[in-house]
Amino acid sequence: MLLFRSEDHVDRWCVDRNLPRGAVLTIDQGWKLARAWYSDRLDPDSRGRTAKEIEVIFADLRLTGPYWEAARP
C-alpha cells in the first residue's frame, strides 16, 4: 500500500508494472482504517479479529466491492 500524489501517479505506477489498479483511499479513509485496525495492538489482550469483525470495519468505512471481498475458503 503506497502513497501517491494523485490519481495520475497511481495510473502511471500500474501501467509501468502492468498491474491492474486496485482500491484508492483518501488519507482520511486510510487513517480511519489504520486506527480501526491497529489502535489496540499494544493491548495485552489484543487478538486477531474475527472475519465478522473485519467485515464490520470495512463496511463502516464504506470499503465495499470486489476488491474488499475475503478469500473464499
Binding site: M1, L2, L3, F4, R5, S6, E7, H9, V10, R12, W13, C14, D16, L19, P20, R21, G22, A23, V24, L25, T26, I27, D28, Q29, G30, W31, L33, A34, R35, W37, Y38, S39, R41, L42, P44, D45, S46, G48, P66, Y67, W68, E69, A70, A71, R72
Partner: protein
C-alpha cells in the same frame, strides 16, 4: 497451572513490540526467551504460531522477524515519527497504524509511490489528518494480501 500457548503468545508479542519500539530491532527468539525467562524452543514455536496467525511475519525459512505489523523490523520507505522517536512502517497503511498504536499524533515521511521523487508527508494531529494531500493505493485485492505480504 502451566501457561497456555495463547497467554505465552500474548507476552511474546508485547516483548517483540517493546524491543522494536525501543531499539528498532526485533529480538531473536533467544533474546525474547531471555527477556521472558522461557525456554527458547517455546519462543521459537510461539514465533511460528504468531506468524501463522498473521501477527508476525518471519523471513522465509527462519525464525527471524521481518514485520510485527504495523512495525517493520527492517528499514523501509516509510519513516514514522511519533513523540520524538522514529520507527519504520511496512506501508502507508501500517505507518498510519504506528501512529494509531502509539497515540493520535505523528507524521509519516515517504515519497510518491511511482518514483517521481516527490517527498510526501502525512501528518496526524490529535486524531485528525491535518493535510489531506495524496491518495492511498491498495493494489493487491484483499483476498490475496497474504499470498505475498511483502509485495502487498
Amino acid at each position: 497451572m502451566p501457561e497456555t500457548s495463547e497467554a505465552l503468545d500474548g507476552r511474546v508479542r508485547l516483548t517483540v513490540f517493546e524491543r522494536l519500539l525501543e531499539t528498532g530491532q526485533a529480538p531473536s527468539f533467544e533474546e525474547a526467551a531471555r527477556a521472558l525467562g522461557v525456554d527458547p524452543e517455546k519462543i521459537a514455536v510461539s514465533y511460528q504460531r504468531l506468524a501463522g496467525q498473521h501477527r508476525l511475519v518471519l523471513k522465509p525459512g527462519t525464525t527471524e522477524i521481518l514485520m510485527a505489523n504495523p512495525l517493520s523490523a527492517v528499514p523501509t520507505a516509510f519513516t514514522v515519527e511519533v513523540r520524538g522517536r522514529s520507527h519504520f512502517g511496512n506501508c502507508i497503511w501500517d505507518s498510519l497504524g504506528v501512529i494509531a498504536m502509539l497515540g493520535n499524533s505523528g507524521r509519516v515521511l515517504t515519497s510518491c509511490g511511482d518514483g517521481c521523487g516527490e517527498a510526501m508527508t502525512v501528518r496526524i494531529e490529535h486524531g485528525v489528518p491535518v493535510d489531506g494531500r495524496g491518495i492511498i493505493h491498495f493494489q493487491v485485492p484483499r483476498a490475496r494480501w497474504w499470498d505475498d505480504i511483502v509485495f502487498t
